[in-house]
């Protein structure tokens, strides 16, 4: 996963720097670092989140280690919180790595980068936004208790949300009916993907605007920062509550022989 992130953060910069630099106006060069941070986030980081979260609980059941650990004086709450925070910490480190590598690669291929003071905050915003799919995948892993099934269901949710979002955008563009854009606002991919670009867009100069247009797509159907942050929190709280309630109530699954 680390190697894949490293490739994703360096290869596109190399390609654009060597063969496609004419496509990018020189005035944008100091801000290309933001593309390397935000582009993977819209989809790739979401898949990383579910890859980490879907197996966090279910793999413990499958290996029988949950049964062994919970037969020790370890409370269920400790186990649950430990698994959640452990996975989320790993995801956070991968997001941080993505931010650092893309900044280094952008500097190496396009020269000194500007406004890097916003980098820590955008990484934190990405970590916060990634909690949406992380918590949903974590919940599915706990509910179905099979890692492969949890991966499939979580991936299906991302793909379905992305496809539905595209159709809703098209429908809105064609009809102008705000119903479509409103629904689009609540889709998990819209919420998780829109928060980091919106934050950067609000703090970076307009010269970087072209990057955000490409990353965000049409402005319609994208919630405000506050609404997006709130709804990410709602998804998180609901998913974690369901997972915790089920974990507290259900028997500890036996090892898959």
């Amino acid at each position: 996963m680390v190697v894949f992130i490293a490739l994703l953060d360096t290869v596109p910069y190399y390609i654009f720097a060597t063969s496609g630099s004419s496509l990018i106006p020189p005035s944008v060069y100091p801000y290309v670092w933001i593309a390397g941070i935000l582009a993977p986030f819209t989809l790739f980081i979401q898949f990383v989140a579910i890859l980490v979260a879907a197996g966090a609980m279910s793999e413990e059941y499958e290996a029988g280690t949950a049964e062994l650990l919970l037969a020790k004086p370890v409370s269920r709450a400790e186990f649950f919180v430990g698994k959640f925070l452990g996975g989320y910490l790993l995801l956070s480190l991968l997001i941080l790595l993505n931010g650092l590598l893309s900044t280094v690669a952008a500097t190496a291929f396009f020269g000194a980068q500007a406004d890097l003071a916003t980098l820590p905050v955008v990484v934190l915003v990405e970590i916060y936004s990634s909690a949406l799919f992380f918590s949903v995948a974590f919940m599915l892993g706990e509910l179905v208790r099979r890692s492969s099934l949890a991966y499939i269901l979580s991936s299906a949710l991302i793909v379905a949300s992305q496809i539905v979002g595209t159709y809703l955008s098209i429908a809105y563009e064609l009809t102008g009916n705000t119903f479509y854009s409103t629904i689009h606002t609540y889709l998990p991919t819209t919420l998780a993907g829109s928060l980091p670009p919106q934050y950067e867009q609000s703090v970076l100069p307009s010269v970087a605007g072209r990057i955000f247009e490409l990353l965000l797509g049409p402005a319609s159907g994208v919630p405000s920062e506050a609404v997006a942050a709130f709804l990410v929190g709602v998804y998180f709280v609901v998913a974690v509550s369901i997972a915790l309630a089920y974990f507290s109530w259900a028997d500890v699954s036996r090892r898959v022989s």
Binding site: A63, G64, T65, E67, L68, L69, L70, A71, K72, P73, V74, S75, R76, W249, A250, D251, V252, R254, R255, S257
Partner: protein, 313 residues
């Protein structure tokens, strides 16, 4: 009198159409309790309820006087568990596995000494740094018992602890468990190895189709199910008249001819061998051997299951 270490008070577990229980028994401090029953009878389910891994549908289970679901950490303090299928990471060495187990129960000092102690207790000290993936099934089973014993718990819950062990390993663990109980430890172990249970356990419980059929000593179970103890007699020249006369000895319930002699059923606890031996030799027959029956618990177990449990209840 102190509360039992392990207590099932009408515990029931319902899985769809299947129902285990109500199960009612207790295990006192210092007992080695053999939990018997065929595959699927509910032994592992009871163990899982005891450890707070499964929630009883009705009734109560207490471990050290505490509900393992409500106060999980408190109930499981000083309890070691070895599951039926050892869930041990194959890329680790036994020492690493045990250090991790020590950390999980909050052991902070003397970990290395404790790890070596339990490795020695189960007889795999020399394999302490070998990767688990390279150990034999029996060694992994011993390691599973070792991780249950880390931290010197007062109670051991062992699901088929002797499975896959060679005779030397079985004998080693048997002594380890005896020593554990001598020091006041309590053991609940499920097993299909009747000879081991008969030899090791101070009490047994028999569960069948989710119902606990019997709880008592192995001898009591034999007496109840088989209707008495068995005496094997190997003799030459036993006449029908002598066999008929053996019926009159005090305590003799029945006699069955077997190859090379007779099997005599006597009332449980009655020592009839001297009278039997005397009568056979006085009849002129040649007495070759006379001994109490072997594998009686196994016979009682099979008989109890064959009768659908009615003989054990």
């Amino acid at each position: 009198m102190s509360a039992p270490v392990i207590e099932f008070a009408g515990a029931v577990k319902v899985y769809g159409q299947k129902k285990i229980g109500p199960v009612e028994f207790y295990v006192d401090r210092g007992e080695i309790f053999g939990f018997l029953g065929p595959n699927g009878s509910g032994k592992t389910t009871c163990i899982r309820m005891l450890l707070g891994l499964a929630r009883p549908s009705a009734g109560k289970v207490r471990l050290r006087g505490v509900d393992p679901l409500r106060k999980h950490a408190e109930a499981l303090t000083s309890v070691g568990y070895s599951p039926e299928l050892p869930n041990i990471q194959t890329f680790m060495s036994p020492r690493e596995v045990l250090r991790l187990a020590a950390a999980e129960i909050g052991l902070k000092v003397g970990i290395q000494t404790e790890v070596d102690r339990v490795l020695e207790d189960v007889g795999i000290l020399q394999y302490g740094d070998t990767k688990v993936g390279k150990l034999s099934k029996g060694m992994v089973q011993r390691l599973s018992v070792a991780q249950a014993m880390i931290g010197s718990p007062q109670t051991l819950v062992l699901d088929e602890p002797m499975i896959g062990l060679d005779p030397a390993g079985t004998a080693h663990l048997r002594e380890t468990f005896r020593e554990f109980a001598r020091n006041g430890g309590t053991i609940l172990m499920s097993s299909h190895m009747m000879s081991e249970v008969e030899d090791l356990c101070s009490s047994v419980g028999l569960i069948h189709s989710g119902k606990l059929l019997f709880r008592g000593t192995a001898g009591d179970m034999v007496g109840q199910v088989l209707g008495g103890d068995l005496v094997h007699v190997e003799a030459r020249g036993l006449s029908a008249g002598t066999i008929e006369a053996l019926h009159k000895i005090d305590g003799v319930i029945g006699i069955e001819a077997i190859s090379g002699g007779v099997e005599i059923k006597v009332k449980h606890g009655v020592e009839a061998r001297p009278a039997i031996a005397r009568m056979i030799t006085e009849s002129g027959a040649e007495l070759l051997t006379i001994r109490t029956g072997e594998r009686l618990l196994e016979k009682a177990y099979i008989e109890a299951l064959r009768s659908g449990g009615s003989k054990a209840e």
